[in-house]
């Protein structure tokens, strides 16, 4: 597994850079235009959450190969406030910022695998994968 890139999300420009990096990587790997949109949208949601809810964090993009197929793993890591109740934030429409509350549940549906780990006071790590069909 090789890290392809990581983008610091400290300002909203980081959101744009992260999704551009995701667009290029997924295009280069041969993902369909719909999957490219799913991947860039997922990156944008995760990056925006880092921007909105934490001081800073990093979006990582990796290419993986499980022996049968290639995929992209997106990681979103921050040392922010963390999330108290993981079940709440996965409910459609749940938002503490007046947002649509569609980000995390949406990312889970757009991608093939989704994992979230968070410790209040320590931060959050989200790992999500899309496989090339």
């Amino acid at each position: 597994m090789t890290t392809q890139s990581s983008v610091e999300i400290g300002t909203e420009w980081g959101i744009v850079s992260a999704r551009q990096a995701g667009r290029e990587l997924s295009k280069g790997l041969g993902f369909s235009s719909v999957d490219q949109a799913r991947i860039t949208t997922a990156i944008s949601e995760l990056a925006r959450n880092i921007y909105l809810y934490t001081k800073n964090g990093v979006i990582g993009l990796e290419v993986v190969n499980d022996g049968h197929r290639q995929g992209i793993i997106i990681t979103a890591r921050d040392q922010g406030p963390g999330i108290e109740n993981l079940r709440d934030v996965m409910v459609d429409g749940y938002s503490t910022s007046g947002g649509l509350g569609a980000g995390l549940p949406g990312v889970k549906r757009l991608m093939d695998e989704f994992d979230i780990q968070s410790n209040p006071g320590e931060g959050t790590l989200i790992t999500t994968t899309k496989w090339l069909r």
Partner: protein, 118 residues
């Protein structure tokens, strides 16, 4: 970055050709509402043909600008939403409820004309 707003009779035409970062989206919201006020525009077409990704934040900004324009008495039609964008929006559960759409600019203008001129 400012998104240009073109005036065509009673209508305003906007074609979004730039990467929609948050600043640009919010500035556009303000610019459009001011322009509607200045020009007394009744119909607006926002063309999204070149937009290859709409996340939930941008969707909210677009939904809000449509609602705000409606409040001011102007009708908005969104045109040219790409297949990949339509698919991701629905999968995300972001349904842009009550927002009028059309395939392209031309059909968007026709739709406005039908609604406004009967």
């Amino acid at each position: 970055m400012r998104i240009p707003i073109l005036k065509l009779g009673n209508y305003l035409l906007i074609s979004i050709q730039v990467e929609l970062d948050d600043q640009t989206a919010l500035l556009f919201q303000e610019d459009l509402l001011n322009k509607i006020h200045q020009e007394g525009s009744q119909g607006i077409v926002i063309d999204l043909t070149s937009v290859d990704m709409i996340d939930s934040y941008i969707a909210k900004v677009i939904g809000d600008v449509v609602e705000m324009s409606n409040l001011m008495g102007a009708k908005v039609v969104l045109t040219g939403i790409q297949p990949a964008v339509a698919i991701t929006l629905v999968e995300m559960g972001v349904s842009l409820n009550g927002v009028q759409t059309a395939l392209d600019l031309e059909q968007g203008l026709e739709k406005l004309q039908q609604e406004l001129e009967g």
